[in-house]
């Protein structure tokens, strides 16, 4: 027995590991360990260090992203192509770290004031961001699955953070149950794909799906089941049931995190699977994505119109935004390869801009609800009279979400629209029309919030100014500055999105 093991040990070759390419993840894991140790060895008074450490760690993890970008070498390909650090991964990792950092900023006061443990909150947040970063590099079904769970399990716990209140634990339960069910369906799909192709590498799966296996009916079942798991994560209709309740019951900073970071991670997985793995059956993907996108944006928008709670309204708004982001995938693989590249870059661009803008809107919501102690939209009446700065910032974010020029969202939506229409495909035109109609519907509620802020009277005539803690002010400032800069110079973000391509070839 031992001789067999020894023989195996000598023939073992250590896989080549590119430590530089792994540096962002390593920094994040190191931060997690430091947070854990500090939490163990300090007493209650110094709990505030957890949030500072987590924030600094996320910023520090961004540094290797820039050095990796400067590196002249090709993308870091590790483990036989199972883990790839290409431009796509770098851009998305930056996005996740930024989202994580802003989430730390908007959490600091909220979490410190509640009667809940602080250290664990930031540890879970770090773990979730780590899972997202791994997700953007994973090109292997096993790695994708592990990354998916790495980001999901901490978010189940974060959603159930207010565990001693009934609505808080209800939020966690709904998210958890639908989440693990979707994971099960996704795994079943993955097992069928593994059975047909005999490999878990996404690029090799792509070769098989483009070949004979792609024509088997079981391949279609595998593809659709796998994508369903991620459709839940991005809260696409009909898998959106959890979103409004979870968003309302979870602490608002967690809601902000779920609505941007965890949603983007779902899209990252979908993009990797669609463009590298399942591209050979884009004829199956197009109608599926079309139905998903149109249903998602229509249902999200129509229900959002009659919401009176601002967090619930943003829950449905984020469902509708997921529909917009899915739309270009309805034309994936139609037309020449350049239009497919356009689909990819338009989705990445929208993810970048949506993340910044939605986080900004949530930062304002958290600041205002600290004063009003209410999530009702009516409590926002006359915000402009006593907090003009916040009201104007919120107006900028709402313009951006609604896609009104000159705010940055207009440019992102325009790019989505171009990507949808340019392949001259029937589904593309239909999706474009649905998108245009839905953009108008969404203005109904975005402008409704504006009217409440600027026109309505202040409830109870209470016009004491809003106290804005430093961390929240920084969060609003960062997102507002990013929104304005990209709004004036949209090419900055567009270059970044065009740059975000897969190292492995696009679909062939």
């Amino acid at each position: 027995m031992s001789s067999v093991l020894l023989a195996a040990a000598t023939s073992f070759v250590r896989p080549e590991i590119d430590w530089h390419a792994l540096a962002p993840e390593l920094v994040l894991v190191a931060t997690f360990v430091v947070c854990l140790l500090v939490d163990v060895f300090t007493d209650e008074e110094s709990r505030w260090t957890a949030s500072s450490l987590a924030g600094v760690g996320m910023l520090a993890a961004m540094v290797p992203l820039f050095t990796l970008h400067m590196r002249e070498l090709d993308a870091g390909v590790m483990f036989g192509g199972g883990y790839v650090v290409d431009d796509f991964a770098l851009v998305l990792k930056g996005l996740f770290l930024l989202a994580g950092y802003v989430t730390v900023l908007i959490s600091t006061n909220q979490i410190a004031e509640g009667d809940y443990p602080e250290g664990e909150y930031y540890q879970l947040l770090l773990t979730a961001v780590f899972g997202m970063m791994v997700m953007s590099s994973s090109r292997d079904l096993i790695t994708i699955f592990v990354a998916f769970e790495m980001l999901s399990i901490p978010t189940y716990l974060l959603a159930a953070w207010r565990k001693r209140t009934q609505t808080g634990i209800e939020a966690g339960m709904k998210y958890y149950l639908i989440g693990v069910f979707a994971t099960g369906v996704m795994l079943y799909g993955m097992s069928l794909i593994f059975g047909g192709t005999g490999t878990t590498l996404v690029s090799e799966i792509g070769a098989h799906i483009g070949g004979t296996f792609g024509n088997e009916p079981v391949a279609v079942v595998g593809i659709l089941f796998t994508l369903v798991g991620f459709a839940f994560k991005v809260s696409a209709v009909p898998f959106q049931n959890w979103a409004p309740d979870t968003y309302e019951g979870a602490p608002t900073p967690v809601t902000a995190f779920l609505s941007v970071a965890s949603k983007s991670a779902g899209f990252v997985a979908i993009l990797q699977l669609v463009f590298i793995g399942f591209f050979g059956r884009s004829d199956v993907l197009r109608p599926f994505m079309f139905v998903l996108a149109v249903l998602t944006m229509t249902v999200g928008n129509v229900i959002a119109l009659r919401q009176t709670n601002i967090v619930r309204l943003f829950a449905y708004s984020s469902v509708a935004q997921a529909g917009f982001i899915l739309t270009p995938l309805a034309v994936v693989g139609a037309g020449d390869p350049s239009t497919s590249a356009q689909v990819l870059s338009s989705v990445v661009l929208y993810l970048l801009i949506y993340t910044v803008v939605n986080l900004g809107a949530f930062a304002v919501i958290i600041t205002v609800s600290r004063r009003t102690r209410s999530g009702e939209l009516a409590s926002w009446g006359g915000l402009f009279t006593y907090a003009p700065g916040l009201a104007v910032s919120m107006a900028v974010f709402l313009f951006a979400l609604g896609g009104i020029p000159p705010a940055v969202g207009w440019f992102a939506k325009f790019q989505l629209f171009t990507a949808v229409v340019s392949p001259h495909h029937a589904l593309g035109y239909a999706a474009g029309v649905a998108m245009a109609v839905n953009s108008v519907i969404s203005l109904g509620y975005y402008l409704g919030i504006m009217r409440t802020m600027f026109m309505d009277d202040v409830p109870d005539g209470d016009t004491t100014p809003v106290k804005i803690p430093v961390a929240l002010a920084a969060a609003v400032g960062i997102t507002l500055a990013a929104t304005l800069v990209v709004g004036l110079l949209p090419n900055l973000a567009a270059d970044l999105a065009d740059h975000a391509t897969f190292a492995l070839s696009l679909g062939d």
């Binding site: 699955f145 565990k163 966690g172």
Partner: protein
């Protein structure tokens, strides 16, 4: 052929699990149904792995087992907290937020 029998068993397990998740109202039973789904996946992976000789399937199954354990740990904690707050594990009664 032997492979078919494994696949059919896995498919039956999967359908039972999905039925359980949809129809059962007891939180613990829903968790057990989810375990059925995950085990059907393991059966599939190991059967395919034995057929094609690709070890990746067995490795995948090991990962699924490990992660499922972590998942159920979180799930049971949530069900416990539900019981503390609501004095029941009937998930239909845990429905305060609507709209």
């Amino acid at each position: 052929m032997l492979l078919n029998q494994f696949l059919i068993l896995a498919a039956i397990l999967f359908c039972t699990g999905v039925y359980g998740v949809i129809s059962r109202r007891n939180g613990v039973l829903v968790l057990m149904s989810i375990e059925l789904i995950l085990n059907s996946v393991n059966l599939n992976l190991v059967a395919f792995s034995a057929m094609t000789g690709a070890v990746a399937g067995q490795v995948f199954a090991l990962f699924v087992i490990a992660v499922a354990a972590a998942e159920v740990g979180v799930g049971l904690a949530i069900v416990l907290a539900i019981f503390r707050n609501f004095r029941t594990v009937d998930i239909d009664e845990v429905d305060l937020m609507k709209g």
